[in-house]
């Protein structure tokens, strides 16, 4: 386990350096100068030169690269052009809300996926199978931002069940702890539901196929011949079997969920990485977007590392079948 983990960690580290290099390359190899693109359009030539010097844009590329990487590793991401405060602060504040949203949505996503998959497998080939499959396909095809707006219109504006956006109510700080948590959950409900509803079908299809496969195996036949009910066969015997690969799938889903979160954050004004990036675009605040892009990739790398390690713990077969290649 340990040598594997060491190798896997080393690989992740290498990946991070590569990711950092790519972000740097994209920004610096894009046509023109980062300043041309807009932030400093109104700034006169002299101030512009000062800004160039401050950002180190006149140095040779290699020097800039080394300086940038070492500064990043020290946690110094520069100054936000728009907010005039450290990028690390701007982005750091956004990580928590994004993780909260993504993880809540993922739990919901998993619950929906398992329910849908079991329903489809239990009513295989019958009306409910096709109904659940069809509904899932439509949900999968909806634009996330539109689904969010429609849920907002219905549940926040018309019915008034949930707040229309934001992380918490204005007076949240004054509330007792329990009420504050409830307030947070109420704010979380619609964004998390939007994200989960738009994505669960991918996992559901996967689990359904795995369930079908498991139900055809001999241990199910043996259990069935012992008189185990079909419902129990499905939930207790086949399902655990079908869920194991989901650990790996979780690692693969993370980029999608983080990407989906961007869409949802914009619609619901959720103060996460996505909204920070989109706001930064309006102001051409590229240091912020560099940081959010890199940070999102770090989260994905960490997630896939966790998923791999989790899978090795959960399934001894992987550990026994020779060296795991990263």
């Amino acid at each position: 386990m340990i040598p594997w983990l060491a190798r896997r960690l080393l690989w992740s580290l290498l990946m991070l350096v590569l990711l950092m290099t790519m972000v740097f390359a994209i920004v610096r190899l894009a046509p023109g100068d980062p300043l041309d693109a807009g932030a400093a359009e109104s700034v006169d030539a002299r101030e512009r030169q000062l800004l160039r010097e401050r950002l180190g844009l006149d140095e040779p590329l290699a020097g800039q690269y080394v300086r940038w990487v070492s500064a990043c590793l020290r946690g110094d991401w520069g100054l936000s052009l728009r907010q005039q405060r450290p990028v690390a602060d701007v982005v750091g504040e956004a990580v928590g809300p994004t993780l909260l949203l993504t993880l809540t949505a993922y739990l919901l996503h998993l619950a929906l996926a398992v329910l849908a998959a079991v329903a489809m497998a239990a009513y295989r080939g019958r009306f409910i199978d096709h109904l659940v499959g069809g509904a899932g396909l439509v949900l999968l095809s909806l634009p996330g931002f539109w689904l969010g707006l429609m849920l907002l219109l219905l549940f926040a504006r018309q019915l008034g069940w949930f707040p229309a956006g934001g992380l918490q109510s204005v007076d949240a700080a004054l509330l007792p702890a329990g009420a504050r948590l409830l307030d947070l959950l109420r704010h979380l409900a619609l964004p998390a539901a939007t994200l989960a509803l738009g994505s669960y079908m991918g996992t559901a299809r996967y689990v359904r196929a795995a369930l079908d496969e498991a139900m055809g195996q001999e241990f199910i036949l043996a259990a069935r011949s012992r008189g185990v009910s079909e419902r129990r066969l499905l939930w207790r015997h086949a399902l655990p079997h079908a869920l194991l690969p989901l650990i790996t799938l979780a690692g693969l889903h993370l980029p999608q969920l983080l990407g989906g979160a961007v869409v949802v954050e914009v619609v619901f004004g959720w103060p996460g990485l996505g909204r920070v990036s989109v706001e930064a675009i309006g102001a051409r605040d590229y240091p912020v977007i560099m940081a959010t892009t890199f940070l999102s990739a770090v989260l994905v790398t960490a997630g896939s590392l966790l998923a791999d390690a989790g899978y090795r713990r959960a399934d001894p077969r992987v550990r026994l079948t020779g060296p795991g290649t990263p």
Binding site: H130, S141, W146, L258, T293
Partner: protein, 295 residues
């Protein structure tokens, strides 16, 4: 597959039009939907004559759906149906072109990685994995933030950030094809790797590539609509469904129809792509074709 057909027949089968999960029904429904959208896009100037962006009479602002304006009017008094009809062009164009960029790039990288020397394979796949570590939308936002928004740029960027999945799929398929006897025979004859790749491996990859294309188009349409929604895609006076949703957003409460219908149009088009992809997969799945060959 065949045993699924028998179980379907044995139990109470739902009406045929509901069995959309896979196979021929999905294929037909998907093709039908996409044909409909394509016809609307092609005939837009005749279906909705006149400039869809020209201002309407002031009295016509924010009218709810009626006989004269089936989908209502927007805050500038323009007919929403006419704009919806014209908007189909951007969605289809952006979807197909950016999917094409992604498919060509992905197939190229996957094919080279799968047939080329081992070091090249490792290099290309490491790069692919690195690109996959970025949630796509962040990469797109970063690229778009460095330039001025335009539809061409948006399509290019969506394509350039969407090839990785295709590359991995094509590489995996290529690796398994490499072990086939006919490919080994072609190599044994001393054909160049390029010729083996393009003439002997590529034709067998078409099913994989075609299915991937259909699904990619759907996802590209969604991505384009989101960028247009953010104001980073098609710019006025070009009409796009994403931009229509954006302009309806401030008046969501008073004029829900401005937001609702473009979203439904997007959903319908993407459902068409996904049905087509699923249906084609049911028909062309390489694994099933492989199984058939072994029988």
């Amino acid at each position: 597959m065949s045993d699924e057909v028998t179980t379907t027949a044995a139990t109470a089968a739902p009406p045929a039009f509901l069995r959309l999960n896979e196979g021929t029904n999905a294929l037909r429904a998907g093709l039908g939907i996409l044909l409909l959208v394509a016809v609307v896009a092609l005939l837009a100037p005749w279906l909705a004559p006149g400039d869809p962006s020209a201002l309407g009479p002031a009295a016509d602002r924010l009218l709810p759906p009626s006989a004269a304006h089936p989908l209502g009017t927007d805050m500038l008094g323009r007919d929403a149906l006419a704009r919806l009809v014209h908007g189909s062009r951007v969605s289809l164009l952006a979807g197909w072109l950016s999917a094409l960029v992604a498919i060509v790039l992905g197939t190229g990288v996957g094919l080279v990685a799968g047939t080329g020397p081992r070091w090249l394979d490792r290099l290309l796949m490491t790069f692919t994995d690195a690109c996959l570590s970025f949630p796509r939308i962040f990469l797109i936002l970063l690229l778009v933030s460095l330039t001025r928004p335009s539809l061409t740029l948006t399509m290019l960027v969506i394509g350039l950030t969407g090839w990785m999945g295709v590359a991995r799929l094509v590489r995996a398929e290529t690796l398994s094809l490499r072990e086939r006897e006919y490919v080994a025979a072609a190599r044994g004859l001393g054909l160049s790797p390029w010729r083996v790749g393009t003439r002997h491996v590529l034709p067998s990859l078409w099913p994989t590539v075609i299915v991937a294309t259909a699904l990619r188009v759907g996802s590209a349409i969604l991505t384009e609509s989101f960028l247009s929604f953010l104001g980073l895609g098609a710019q006025e006076p070009t009409v796009s469904w994403g931009a229509m949703i954006q302009s309806g957003r401030p008046v969501l409460l008073e004029a829900w129809w401005l937001t609702a219908f473009p979203g439904l149009a997007l959903a319908l088009t993407v459902v068409g792509c996904n049905l087509l992809g699923d249906g084609l997969r049911g028909r062309l799945d390489p694994r099933r074709m492989k199984a058939a060959r072994h029988e």
